[in-house]
């Protein structure tokens, strides 16, 4: 299921790659033009690897294998100090994570930074949390 979704996402992205109008960051007001039609598939996000507030945050295309059936793959994974942070892409291209699930931000990097802020130094647990 996640693989199918990822393949579909990659295929759609490839098909749209030549179209400069495809943007990952649709403004909320853009939805007015979007009803009833499928949302444009956002571009895959940019990889990142940096130290933010003393913690290593990384974002990269999902490497196969580490996938858990409880969560849905966005095709992209985010890690904080090497531990995977569950992230999700919204239809408008915005992102949320498991520690900030009701507050969309524009990129996975912003979601990782928001998670570091939220964690206040606490270790992230591998999901599913228990």
């Amino acid at each position: 299921m996640p693989d199918i979704t990822r393949r579909r996402a990659l295929a759609a992205t490839a098909a749209l790659a030549a179209t400069a109008t495809v943007t990952a960051l649709a403004a909320p007001t853009a939805s007015a033009a979007g009803h009833g039609r499928p949302m444009p598939m956002p571009k895959p996000p940019e990889n990142f690897d940096e130290v933010y507030k003393g913690r290593r945050i990384q974002g990269r295309p999902m490497s196969g294998g580490g996938h858990h059936h409880h969560e849905h793959g966005s095709g992209f994974e985010v890690l904080i100090d090497g531990v995977q942070l569950h992230v999700m892409r919204n239809a408008d291209g915005s992102w949320i994570s498991i520690v900030s699930h009701y507050d969309p931000v524009t990129t996975p990097r912003a979601a990782a930074r928001a998670a570091v802020d939220e964690l206040q130094g606490a270790a992230l647990l591998p999901f599913p949390a228990n």
Partner: protein, 273 residues
Amino acid sequence: MTVRKNQATLTTDEKKRFVDAVLELKRSGRYDEFVSTHNEFIMSDTDTGERTGHRSPSFLPWHRRFLLDFEQALQSVDSSVALPYWDWSADRTLRAGLWAPDFLGGTGRSTDGRVMDGPFAASAGNWPISIRVDGRTFLRRSLGTAVRALPTAAEVESVLSMATYDMAPYNSASDGFRNNLEGWRGVNLHNRVHVWVGGHMATGASPNDPVFWLHHAYVDKLWAQWQRRHPDAGYVPTGGTPDVVDLNETMKPWNDVRPADLLDHTKFYTFDS
């Protein structure tokens, strides 16, 4: 018949009975099963795939049934208890009785977000956070910091006036009542309240904070108000929609209840007003 009351009107005895029943569910382990279920749906509901608990038309009936399960569990401990609701458009400050030490306790301290008073403070010893995404085992809140203001009555009214229950693509990009109430679009009602409370309420494991139930009981009441306002508008979609729970399809995790079975709350409870 269960009557759900505004939390601001509860007597001292009603607050105590509610809190004691919640603590008993926690002690017995049943509480954390609700937290797990919610977290699992939060992680698996996606805009482009199967979606049931959130970002979809069934957000409202799913949470109605989830709250019914929780309320029945409370009533198995104390049959006098009903879920109260928090009208956050009216009780919108940190001084509301909701956050007093005899009810849910207040905001977290600034250093680490730890709730320091009330029955759910870690120091009271009765509220370990076991279903969690990070190492912290104490209840956290940060009332009114990530977003300054709770929704206003006028904002609620603007959403209640929307005549269509939900619209294609039936996800976080939809227009219509459901998504504007859920908050992925527009003035943002439900989502914003999670963010305003902060701490655990901002995460997928949001039921770790007992205010989750009072928040959702009010969201559920707004659905009932919307139905009275728009008697000719019904739940949609009504059939054949991939990945989305249609009116007469059963919902996970129960698999024996349909949105159609949950539209009329008076079969289960009424409201004080």
